[in-house]
Symmetry: C2
Subunit: 311 residues, 2 copies
Amino acid sequence: ENVLETKKSVLQQIKVPNGHGMSQLFVTDTGLVVPSISPDLRSRLFSTAEKFGFTQERQIEMVGRSASEMVLQLLGGPHRLNPNNGHQVPTVVLLCGPHLQGTQAINCARHLSNHNVNVYLVLPNFIKMNKYMEEELKLFAFCDGNRISNLKGKNSDITIELSQMGTGSQISKRDGNRISNLKGKNSDINRSPGWEQVNLKDLPLGSVDIIINALDNQETPNLKDQVWYKTLVEWANQNRAPVLAMDPPVESNSVRAKWCLSIGLPLNMVMQSSQLYLCDLGFSKKVFAEVGIKYLSPFSHKFTIPLHPKE
Amino acid sequence: ENVLETKKSVLQQIKVPNGHGMSQLFVTDTGLVVPSISPDLRSRLFSTAEKFGFTQERQIEMVGRSASEMVLQLLGGPHRLNPNNGHQVPTVVLLCGPHLQGTQAINCARHLSNHNVNVYLVLPNFIKMNKYMEEELKLFAFCDGNRISNLKGKNSDITIELSQMGTGSQISKRDGNRISNLKGKNSDINRSPGWEQVNLKDLPLGSVDIIINALDNQETPNLKDQVWYKTLVEWANQNRAPVLAMDPPVESNSVRAKWCLSIGLPLNMVMQSSQLYLCDLGFSKKVFAEVGIKYLSPFSHKFTIPLHPKE
């Protein structure tokens, strides 16, 4: 271990095994080095933790709560949320896919709503939903947050038309079955079989403070081909609100994210342009040791910390 | 609701039903009023939440994590825990009874140990232990914290002798089966059947930064009669470290506490001399409504907040 007696001393308390791809190095605000790991190694870390008794439910609660704490800070903390100061209630939209990231976002949405944030949870009605997602949805139903699931509305006033090629979108007005393009160009493409309508009328009409993108998951890249996915990506990219990416895959994200929340240890990202945050899962170092990672917590007194690329 | 346009405006967003004892009023730093509730009403709140799907495991994780965050701050936050600054690693002793508070403290102990605090978990080997306590102990076993369970040691060098009447203690040196009183007075009382030895030699010899008292529980006041309980209370009261009481009962606490962590809503305390903190359980307002409490979160951007008696 390399301890330098300078203001910016560097201490590598975490060491990852070789042979798991190109590990990147990050530093915490206090100068601790945090290396990235491969998605494969992280999967083994998660499954080992579960085997040791750190249940999925517990892990989801850790991540959802950390994400909500982070978002409450990003929204402006006490100044924004003080009911006495007359600020407008902040609005957060959470875009969820049918996987772990989506489940964590539902948990986060509940905590945000409990803390008086105006919440929109966007989650298509998937046929197959795992039990953890169902549990989180059950708890979410007791809060005041809005859930938007019926993305293919029949009586919608405003729809977004979107090519399956993801080349662009036009806002259209729908009157019965007739579609009048408001900003139509290439109208022949618009009517091709590749276009479908997705109802977004339930999304907030006013300004959105933060969008949480929990659409992406390392193990299910095929979601990207689905219409609801493309519609939501398009909507998020058109919106001016800053985006927090919830544990995105190593390939570049479909939605430009200002912030990115990594879980446990950061992944070997192909490209990383967001401000990176790391969230503690509460695993003890023996769990890390089991998959070959020498670990000493970099979190100090916090459960979520910013990470900076090591020069 | 009474909104005053002054610097210290007061807003009562939480209202509790009548007929549940003398409700006390507290205010948050931002001027929100938080009333106390009876232990009976709180029990119903907890069981309602569980019925709604907020599992015990989830609640324990919420409380344990909040308690650990609070303790990490009280220890000195980033200054104390920065591995570069050469401070001594902080030491926390957690005294646990066989109940919910004890279980929350085990969870807290794990998080503290994960965050590099030197932890001593003191928990007698109870014959009957509920499954949540067993789960938390299983997870605690993976961290570096010390667990002290065998309180009735055979080969102890130092024992504390204690009357079942709780009148006082003497430090004794034990040599085989012979007990030589070091500070003996009233030696006839010392040898009466009411005295027993409890081994405390595994507790830290150096200074302790914070003691967490999770010995007390509203529903099991009879613990107070047991020798291990009295020994630990005596030890804590003799130690100079400040004490955090983990959700204590409404009657005055056996150990003088500098801080007190309440869960969900504060209880109607008979006497409250500690600095009160309140911890969010993540229940939505519909859970509170089910037991007649009108609720809007007073937590702002945090999950643990200080409360002050309302003038």
